[in-house]
Subunit: 226 residues, 2 copies
């Protein structure tokens, strides 16, 4: 006669979050295929059956995890705007800098993002999440650009500029995450600020707000500070 494992009842919210975080960790470490129901449950400290109690299936959990990461990534990026000064140039600089430094720019996040991308293509619900997050990010960028003191600020021009600047950020984010050893510290931020400044016709001073601050140790795949 084997003894049944003891357990504690917990709130639906904390259980769901624990399962989502476990899934994200596993995707970051070994790709989507490493995030099986058994490994997720094991890392979350529960048994596999519990997943189907809080999610209708593995696909449901996967969608929730993807939405969680995308929202937190945008939130991390937007957070810097709340403590940024009123000067439009400084706000844009802070936003771009945040996009190209941890915790937003992290190899693990690229791994998660890429791992989910295949689902974005095939699953309509996940594509909606992706589209909403992407357009939301670009909208913030477009507003920052529209607030700049520039001679001509056409509406269509602001859209094009936002797409271009977003591409610069995405491209640098991707390359810096995929090949972190090929770039010096702060190099990508300087390049990004210079390129975006050239596109917009303004000068973005690349004064680092925090001089070479390393990422917090022991952070999870989303850089959440516990």
């Amino acid at each position: 006669m084997t003894e049944r494992r003891p357990y504690r009842r917990e709130s639906e919210e904390s259980r769901r979050e624990a399962l989502i975080l476990a899934a994200l960790e596993l995707v970051a470490e070994g790709g989507l295929e490493a995030a099986t129901v058994r490994s997720i449950a094991d890392r979350a400290g529960v048994t596999p059956g519990l997943i189907r109690h809080y999610f209708s299936g593995k696909e449901d959990l996967t969608r929730a995890a993807y939405r969680h990461m995308m929202e937190q990534m945008t939130a991390d990026n937007v957070a810097v705007l709340e403590t940024a000064p009123d000067c439009p140039l400084a706000r844009l600089t802070a936003f771009v800098t945040a996009s190209l430094t941890p915790p937003v720019m992290q190899p693990l996040r690229l791994a998660i993002w890429a791992g989910f991308l295949q689902l974005v293509r095939s699953d309509a619900a996940m594509r909606a999440v992706h589209e909403q997050t992407y357009l939301g990010y670009r909208d913030i960028l477009e507003n920052l650009i529209a607030a700049l003191p520039r001679p001509a600020s056409d509406a269509a021009r602001c859209r094009s500029d936002a797409i271009a600047c977003n591409a610069v950020i995405d491209g640098l984010w991707m390359e810096g995450s995929a090949l972190p050893d090929n770039f010096a510290s702060g190099e990508l931020v300087a390049i990004g600020l210079h390129a975006i400044g050239a596109i917009l016709g303004v000068t973005l001073a690349g004064a680092p707000p925090a001089p070479a601050a390393p990422p917090p140790t022991g952070a999870g795949p989303n850089g959440e500070s516990a």
Copy 2:
């Protein structure tokens, strides 16, 4: 008594290529997890056991498929330079345009690229292929930039400019592939040329060489023209 399936003997080269193409198609359609030995063999018109006759295992086939796609992608992009005129501006314009139009910019290619990215992180051999392809592409771009008639063409400046322009291309390539419905035809090319022109301080005429040419029908995931 069931009848045994008839078959034809074929060369090692054609069999290997058929298996690689089948694997790429499946990764493009349903991600890495869709490319099982059975589905690959089925699409290639053979039985699963044959895979292990031409490859030491599934991992071996996966590596070969990744290398095949990366090499063909670079080749497609470089091909336009052979028929481009001598004018440095026109050559850069053609190169950027090719990077942001089919067959290089294709949703299926982004899917394949993302599907393999997790292996790039964990497998040293695949990371080497990735790094070599990326740096090779950027090197071509850097040479095109260095050839431009510009006032100051510092070596370090050329490197920074190449990284920035590469980021623009990568970002637009990614966004255009992930959300193809959100951009008008030719919009990404125009934005890319304008942004890169602004970064480099030159004017890139966005004269479309082929007016609204649709991608070739029935092309495989690599756009190979049979």
